[in-house]
Point group: C2
Chain length 142, copies 2
């Protein structure tokens, strides 16, 4: 862990009012070294090599802490369950990072050029998560 990283974690913990424990340090550090889009289970497996006694629940709790602190993100807010899209018109979504509610917004209404942070209805935009859905090369073959 670099000095900058150590400081970052200390700041996060201070702001959140929690202690800088060994488990937290290792989980933070592990995430910093992992690439891609690891699941809690994958993080757990990695952390276990350094702290064999670590609990999966601890990994979950600390991942949540780090995500809530804004230092890491969820790849896509998944809404706990499958959701069916019933709006046929081309549109995007306003997703609340707190309550995860989904509101439709017409495609025209969302100019990608705009950097305005307050959108229609008072929604406060923090970031755009853009998924291109389609088929990867492997799946095209099948």
């Amino acid at each position: 862990m670099t000095v900058a990283e150590a400081n970052e974690l200390r700041t996060i913990c201070e702001r959140a009012g929690v202690a800088v424990t060994h488990q937290r340090q290792v989980i933070y550090e592990t995430l910093r070294t992992m690439h891609g889009h690891p699941s809690p289970e994958e993080v757990y497996t990695r952390v276990k090599t350094r702290i064999p006694s670590v609990s999966l629940a601890t990994v979950y709790k600390n991942i949540h802490l780090l995500i809530e602190s804004g230092i890491f993100h969820e790849v896509s807010l998944h809404h706990g369950s499958l959701r069916v899209e019933t709006n046929e018109k081309p549109h995007h979504h306003l997703v609340c990072t707190a309550c995860k509610s989904i509101t439709d917004i017409a495609a025209e209404e969302l100019g990608f050029v705009s950097k305005s942070r307050k959108l229609r209805g008072g929604f406060l935009a923090q970031r755009f998560a853009v998924d291109v859905l389609g088929l990867c090369p492997d799946c095209q073959k099948k």
Copy 2:
């Protein structure tokens, strides 16, 4: 159910090689009348008012059928588990609708103007799912 809808469902079932059962009809029809982003549980509750004996598993199976037929979509692909974003650079994702693999693509690399369907690496773009992540008015108050 309108005649057009009845035809649509029949076509879907023919293509998929499945029977047009009463349950399927009611599930399809129910989805058509629902707005927003219903979960399987919500669809199940609705369908139950017309077919009290219906099983939740049947609702799941038919929602999957309709999604695979392309007549409805998932709101966002959920990957079965939480995924942590470890890439700090601004980027988007190439998500395979079949295997749900996620590949990063740099923000610059994804010109929104482009309508090219084949992207870097041979990924076949089918549609863009754009989420604006932020806070809804209610959650801003809290």
